[in-house]
């Protein structure tokens, strides 16, 4: 034993290890638990400060935080609160929110950032700067916009249920994968903004009552944890007993270079996504179709598979952009003018007439989509990258020949080819 102890003291690394343990490990035992030090924020809302609510004339922003505060309970219900604070900058408002709650603001679990549309008149990057610099916030955090106050939106989210914020971010995830292919994470937003087209997309959600779209309804019966604090004790506009719906109709805000350019409806986005190869689900409706079986029927076809090929050629310096879409469709629904169709549509064979109708419909939709992008000078599909990578020299010559380089979409001739396969 004596020999062992002597050997230990002869080993400098052991002494250093013992020293570090004594200096750092022991005081660490007496430290406050992290759960008591941090407020776990799951969603952030950012609003413009309205003049009547000004606590300080210099305040510009109101930041609301949907915060999970760990409380020892016998049930597993998680308690969320919306805390808000005003400040001249986002970081100041965040610090004040921390003061209100008496904890440090932990941003590692933030799933979504909600922006009020009033804010979006200015350059978005101004107030997203703080969040984009934060090393704690995940790059996959979803950005979304609403026409109501972001604080009210968070209050509605809070009332959904204990894991509501996650559900809202899942609604946006659903956008990405299935309906309107517009990923809206921080990373994608900045990739778009710093990319060649400078175009970024942000989903637009409302909390109005509406019949369309995907809605996440929030009942007003749950009043626990509804407390709101913005320094002046201002209460949330959401009152107990009121029913609200968070509605996602696929509407999308289009930003160019960080500035709001326009808002496109879900139907517009659907048309644009027809041009994009990475979007392979959805449906196409052929209206007022008549043949031997159908009489003035609306036929709805589900897209099973889709591939889109681009090709670009230059004729006298003008780019001719070929979009060839190949789609596999299956009839999924029939709305017949004369009631039910007698013949079993399960075995319906898509004839040439129907294929022509579908091709025309798709061509019109693609033309509409290009028209929307041309009107707003927003290259949502990113034709720019394809043309640049195909023939950099010819494309640069084409851009140089334009008076306004941003207006390149209006100078490109698009030719649309559609090939339909039925399933």
């Amino acid at each position: 034993m004596k020999h062992f102890v002597v050997n230990l003291f002869k080993t400098p690394m052991f002494l250093i290890f013992a020293l570090i343990t004594l200096i750092y490990a022991l005081p660490a035992l007496g430290k406050q638990a992290e759960l008591s030090r941090y407020a776990v924020v799951t969603a952030i809302g950012i609003d413009n400060v309205e003049e009547e609510n000004l606590e300080n004339p210099e305040n510009k922003f109101e930041v609301s935080l949907l915060t999970f505060i760990p409380i020892a309970e016998q049930t597993f219900t998680e308690t969320y609160k919306v805390i808000s604070a005003q400040g001249r900058s986002i970081s100041e408002a965040m610090d004040l929110a921390g003061l209100h709650i008496g904890r440090e603001i932990g941003l590692s679990h933030v799933k979504s950032v909600i922006m009020n549309t009033d804010l979006l008149k200015d350059d978005v990057s101004k107030f997203l700067d703080y969040l984009s610099r934060s090393k704690n916030m995940a790059a996959s955090t979803k950005l979304l916009a609403t026409d109501s106050k972001a604080k009210d939106f968070l209050n509605a989210v809070q009332k959904l249920n204990s894991e509501s914020s996650i559900k809202v971010s899942e609604v946006i995830n659903f956008n990405t994968n299935y309906i309107y292919s517009s990923d809206s994470s921080f990373e994608t937003f900045f990739k778009g903004m710093f990319g060649p087209t400078k175009v970024s997309l942000v989903p637009f959600l409302t909390i109005n009552d509406t019949e369309g779209g995907i809605s996440v309804a929030s009942g007003g019966e749950q009043s626990g944890g509804q407390e709101s604090s913005n320094g002046g004790g201002q209460n949330s506009s959401t009152t107990s007993g009121q029913n609200e719906e968070i509605v996602n109709s696929g509407d999308t805000l289009i930003f160019k270079d960080g500035k709001l350019k326009t808002m496109l409806t879900g139907f517009d986005m659907k048309k644009i996504n027809l041009v994009r190869g990475d979007y392979t689900t959805g449906s196409i409706e052929v209206k007022d179709y008549t043949d031997k079986i159908f009489d003035h029927a609306n036929l709805i076809f589900e897209i099973f598979d889709k591939s889109v090929q681009y090709k670009v050629k230059y004729e006298n310096g003008t780019p001719i952009f070929y979009i060839n879409a190949q789609m596999t469709l299956a009839l999924s629904e029939v709305e017949n003018g004369d009631g039910m169709v007698e013949k079993n549509v399960e075995f319906f064979v898509v004839d040439q007439k129907c294929i022509n109708a579908l091709e025309n419909k798709i061509r019109r939709s693609v033309a509409d989509a290009i028209g929307i992008m041309r009107d707003n000078q927003t290259d949502i599909v990113d034709f720019y990258t394809f043309m640049h990578n195909s023939d950099k020299k010819a494309f640069n010559n084409f851009l140089d020949s334009l008076e306004d380089r941003e207006d390149y979409l209006n100078r490109i001739v698009f030719k649309i080819g559609v090939d339909i396969l039925s399933k």
Binding site: P12, I16, S132, A139, E187, Y384, K392
Partner: protein, 363 residues
């Protein structure tokens, strides 16, 4: 204090060379390369590794011509004491500056990512004793320990690269940067390269049998391939926002974690970074000690270690210690020191080799 610098084998030399070529290029370098060279940033390490390969080839030539002589002695014989001491002073400063930058970057990385409340003193406590111990205990021990950890390093690096491929999901805008931009970036970040001069100053301790050189060159090749692949994967994953993500190997894993839902997979890359940092700091200290010993050959080795530690602590605390300062220092001051590894040493070695050849011909 006696430093037991016993000889190292071809395998150990290869592994040390791998660490020297790989370690300090996978954290902040790819992001900095993107700023100038955009998506063509992967060309920068390729061009600079060509220079590095030239340096390794010169080492091969001089080692085969002078198999058991010290580099400082060869220099003294050919150029005299003044040139030798001047060169070793520069090498000493070179290794010290690189150690400073490496520590600074690693400290900022770990503080930002995990240990937000930890101060520099704790990090110095964690790094300096181990690094000192590794350097003092001898080159062979470093080689053997590196041999032990090498499978872990390779496995984690390969894992990061393979996982990183899942993050590449966009068709980026190619040919953004001109060849001028790429070369400008090469000059700006040349200081991250040139660590192979470590082999020159320890050439008498390296024992490589005939036919074993391929091991050394293979390890160098693997390290270069890894660096180029990691840079490419990182830039193709983040494309236009690469400049917003300073810690490449971690960000690659982080990207897959966040968008692929693979839990905290990014922690694996931290293990790699910490292992590599320990080894590389030890190698830099070893380079510093050897240079110090050549300049002040009559005083004990303990003084070289003490000098390094004192100046290092002072410099870390008062000169750098934030990422932007570290980057400015790495991009503006350190590139001048690369003259040592890419101009002075090659020029001196080439002249020596030519002289030797002339002598042999006369015989």
């Amino acid at each position: 204090m006696k430093v037991l610098d016993r000889s190292i084998t071809a395998w150990q030399t290869g592994i040390i060379l791998f660490i020297l070529l790989f370690a300090n290029k996978i954290l902040i370098l790819p992001s900095l390369l993107y700023e100038d060279a955009k998506l063509e940033a992967f060309l920068v390490p390729i061009f600079l590794f060509v220079l590095e390969l030239g340096l390794i080839f010169l080492f091969y030539r001089i080692k085969t011509k002078y198999p058991s002589e010290r580099f400082s002695d060869i220099l003294k014989n050919h150029y005299g004491k003044f040139v030798t001491y001047s060169l070793y002073v520069l090498i000493l400063v070179f290794f010290f500056c690189k150690a400073l930058l490496l520590y600074n970057v690693t400290y900022i990385f770990f503080r930002n990512m995990i240990y937000k409340d930890s101060g520099n003193i704790l990090f110095l406590f964690c790094f300096l004793p181990v690094v000192n111990h590794l350097a003092i205990i001898g080159l062979r021990v470093i080689g053997r320990t590196a041999q032990l950890f090498f499978p872990v390093i390779i496995f984690i690096s390969l894992f990061c690269i393979c996982i990183g491929f899942f993050g590449i999901n966009s068709s980026p805008l190619l040919y953004q940067a001109s060849i001028n931009d790429v070369f400008r970036s090469c000059l700006k970040h040349i200081s991250a390269f040139g660590d192979s001069i470590f082999l020159f100053i320890f050439m008498d301790k390296i024992k490589i049998q005939k036919g074993q050189w391929k091991i050394v060159f293979s390890f160098a090749g693997i390290a270069m391939l890894f660096v180029v692949t990691i840079t490419t994967v990182f830039i193709l994953s983040y494309t236009y926002t690469s400049f917003m993500h300073p810690f490449a190997i971690f960000e690659i894993m982080s990207y897959v974690k966040e968008f692929g839902g693979l839990g905290r997979i990014d922690i694996i890359s931290m293990v790699l970074i910490i292992i590599l940092t320990y080894f590389q700091l030890a190698l830099y200290l070893k380079g510093f000690m050897e240079s110090f010993h050549v300049i002040f050959s009559k005083i004990d080795n303990i003084y070289s270690v003490l000098t390094f530690n004192i100046v290092f602590v002072l410099a870390v605390n008062y000169v750098v210690l934030n990422l932007s300062k570290g980057v400015i220092y790495g991009e503006t001051i350190l590139p001048y020191f690369s003259i040592i590894s890419f101009v002075f040493i090659p020029a001196l070695v080439v002249v020596m080799l030519l002289k030797k050849r002339r002598k042999e011909r006369k015989k």
